[in-house]
């Protein structure tokens, strides 16, 4: 809930940007890229799209600091979840005698 009101044209331009990025993300999947580049490109575009949705549609841009704190905490928890899980998976097999992939 913010004090500042965004205009309808602002919402419309965000929508147009989101649609262009959606076409781009599907378009990239037609380019023969090696290995992990498809997922890297797809996620990169998804992060930009997600940012647009959170900042403009969800009004984070003009929200109180509390909202920003909650967003930061959510991302921090997610990074702990991802980092510790990845630490487990990518160090399996490094210790001799331990079962792993």
């Amino acid at each position: 809930m913010s004090e500042r009101i965004l205009s309808v044209p602002t919402y419309a331009s965000v929508l147009v940007a989101l649609l262009i990025l959606t076409v781009a993300t599907v378009g990239v999947s037609f380019i023969p890229l090696a290995g992990h580049w498809h997922i890297a490109a797809g996620l990169g575009i998804a992060v930009v799209k997600g940012g647009l949705v959170v900042l403009f549609f969800m009004h984070a841009l003009h929200s109180p600091k509390l909202t920003w704190a909650i967003i930061a905490v959510a991302l921090f928890w997610l990074s702990i979840l991802a980092a510790l899980t990845l630490c487990d998976y990518f160090t399996r097999g490094m210790v001799p005698g331990m079962p792993g992939h």
Binding site: V8, L15, I45
Partner: protein, 248 residues
């Protein structure tokens, strides 16, 4: 309007209406309606933070399996109906736009525009669910349901995978079903909420100083859209497509 109210000036009447609104809607633990609205929005943001953790576990696990079993995941991903996935992304983005407009008009107290935008959002949400149902049907026809409609030999014969890789295909497809089904559940809950809020909006329950339910519903709806934005590349776009892979 009661005879007493007819004697009031417009400014007095507005003040009286505001006092009645506060009496009807303000919960006792809050100082004023603005503080109550802020608390409602913060509550929804906290709930969404827990949702980030819920979907986060699925995304991280899927990412790891994609890394470990790349070939099988890409083969399975190419079998998914990326065209419907892409169209559904556009449908959901447009529904998010109409939801943003609904909050916008609620804030400006334009009741008719608010109701129309909520109905449009519901319509696009239903459109999403319809396309999703059709996609699930094509998955059924194409034997993409592990444990029910799945032929291991097809993946060895047609996709050139080794028999050892077939369990990895099943794993990826399970993630596809679990993640899209949970997302569809969220859309369904959202649709019910949109219907309720649309009825209330039509009854004129929301005003310039009291529209927190619309605002909070908007946050939820945008989050569901956000999850789909990440589902599209993680499920449908792992491999390289070609024009003939369009299987509508």
């Amino acid at each position: 309007m009661s005879p007493e109210n007819a004697l009031l000036t417009p400014a007095d009447r507005e003040m009286l209406e505001h006092t009645m609104l506060v009496r009807d809607r303000l919960e006792e633990q809050y100082h004023d309606l603005e503080q109550q609205s802020h608390a409602a929005a913060a509550g929804m943001w906290v709930f969404l933070a827990t949702e980030v953790m819920f979907f986060g576990t699925l995304f991280v696990s899927l990412g790891i399996y994609r890394f470990l079993y790349g070939e099988a995941c890409e083969a399975a991903s190419e079998k998914l109906n990326w065209a419907i996935g892409g169209i559904n992304t556009i449908v959901l983005l447009i529904s998010s736009f109409t939801m943003a407009l609904a909050v916008h008009y609620a804030r400006l107290e334009r009741r008719k525009a608010l109701t129309t935008c909520l109905l449009l959002t519901g319509l696009f949400g239903l459109c999403f669910m319809g396309l999703k149902a059709y996609e699930y049907y094509t998955d059924y026809v194409e034997n993409l349901i592990p444990g029910w409609r799945f032929v291991s030999q097809e993946w060895v014969d047609q996709e050139g995978l080794s028999p050892d890789q077939v369990p990895h295909v099943k794993l990826f497809l399970l993630f596809y079903w679990i993640m899209t089904a949970f997302h569809a559940l969220h859309v369904t809950i959202g649709l019910c909420a949109v219907a309720i809020i649309a009825v209330l909006a039509r009854q004129g329950r929301f005003t310039r100083s009291y529209y927190a339910p619309v605002d909070v519903l908007g946050l939820y709806w945008h989050f569901v859209d956000l999850v789909w934005i990440f589902l599209l590349p993680m499920l449908y776009l792992l491999g390289t497509h070609s024009a003939d892979s369009l299987h509508l």
